[in-house]
Symmetry: none
Subunit: 226 residues, 2 copies
DNA sequence: CTGCCGCTTGAGGGTTTCTTGACGGTGGTG
DNA sequence: CACCACCGTCAAGAAACCCTCAAGCGGCAG
């Protein structure tokens, strides 16, 4: 359903929650420290950040502040304290939601969905993305290469848009299936391949001579010019 | 920005939200019970009412009904439940908007502005919109193409107006149903299709050769010239 | 009461788009 | 070198989608 970054130092929680969320259809990346978390937010641009407050290296609130300095990503905070004052401070500091430990994976999943749904309502649309001579406008769903318009179908566009959210990053087909097709689905990699093939044709490139869509054997695909 | 009455029993939320909204430029009065809320609406005549559904003394829907009996004030309801049925009932009961708990102060501020904007527009009227050779005047509800007047029915006009608010942006039929028909639930896509068809005919274009109304298969429609 | 107008809904038709299986080529590995 | 996993493309059937027509239902005016 969504790309999630989980920042949690407790190995047991991190592994089990990560697994549960994956089962629930999310694409989960995990790190164990606040420092890694901040780096990962900047690098991977997750759609939701799950932040544990009791981190060993940095204070959770500092992490939150630093994340907020570089990203608008919605943040769900996990805290052991449930007094009103803490919660208020958290929300003021920019958290979008919070859960009190201990919490179930099911609840966390529900929170993630709730946060995404809310944002889906709010966000009017993203601004246009450019990767070299490739321009993608999410609002009008128009794409141009070297200024020339390209007609894409729904899935083709969504696929390209998903790749464009992290240009230069190799993205697995599994992730693309989750993001574009919205299914936790196994198998069906061929579907992605076929759409990629069509995309390449329309963008004026071939698999042998790629310009924007670069396959990385055994890993996935990345979007970048040349 | 606006005089707001906040009815919320949870101290933490009431205080923090009140503070945030004040910071955002609103004048905020708060009460903790439904009874006080009704009294305060009658007495203070706020410009917007933020109503929590989970009040201790009265059922939120009863409060809403009583408020509606004495005032036209726009109401934004905060609810913990987000199933479609509840939402429909709320809107039917006279709510102008709703947010799902938990929500951020920023979002609430956005909702307040949105509600005020909507109402402000309805009262004083918007300025005319032009999309290429298509002119739409919300006040007189007159439309011209290439200077030639076009007669539209109410729904046709509302549909065109909704599209014109975000020209060039693909808008889903769901959204149009919500905006023009006021129904947040699914189903009835055919209705939009038919009105689009009639609109096209009156605007002098066809689905195969669109000039203003561009269908984007699998996504929605967008308004733009050519 | 009757007829007209605008709106909603269902059905049909014609496309477009998506998925899936098959096949061949390629690169990595033992 | 042989094998295997992976990737790209094709083709065909299935599914989804959009448009239009037409029937039915109020509401409203005459």
């Amino acid at each position: 359903m969504a790309r999630v970054l989980l920042v949690e130092d407790d190995d047991a929680i991190r592994l089990s929650l990560g697994k549960s969320l994956t089962t629930a259809g999310h694409v989960v990346a995990t790190v164990a420290t606040g420092a890694e978390g901040i780096a990962a937010v900047a690098r991977d641009k997750p759609e939701v950040l799950l932040l544990d407050l009791g981190l060993p290296d940095l204070d959770g609130k500092d992490v939150l502040a630093m994340v907020r300095a570089v990203s608008e990503v919605p943040v769900i905070v996990a805290t052991a304290r449930d007094d009103d004052a803490s919660v208020v401070r958290l929300l003021d500091a920019g958290a979008d939601d919070y859960v009190i430990k201990p919490f179930s994976a099911a609840q966390m999943d529900a929170r993630i969905r709730a946060v995404l749904r809310r944002l889906g309502q709010d966000q009017q649309g993203e601004s246009t993305v450019e990767v070299g001579a490739l321009k993608i406008d999410p609002r009008s769903r128009e794409v141009t290469v070297d200024g020339r318009p390209v007609e894409l179908t729904r899935k083709e566009f969504d696929l390209l848009l998903a790749l464009s959210r992290r240009p230069g990053t190799v993205i697995t087909k599994r992730e693309l299936l989750a993001e574009v097709w919205g299914l936790p689905w196994g198998g069906g990699d061929r579907t992605v391949d076929v759409h990629l093939s069509w995309l390449r044709r329309k963008l004026g490139e071939t698999a042998a001579q790629p310009r924007f869509l670069h396959s990385v054997r055994g890993v996935g695909v990345k979007l970048s010019e040349t």
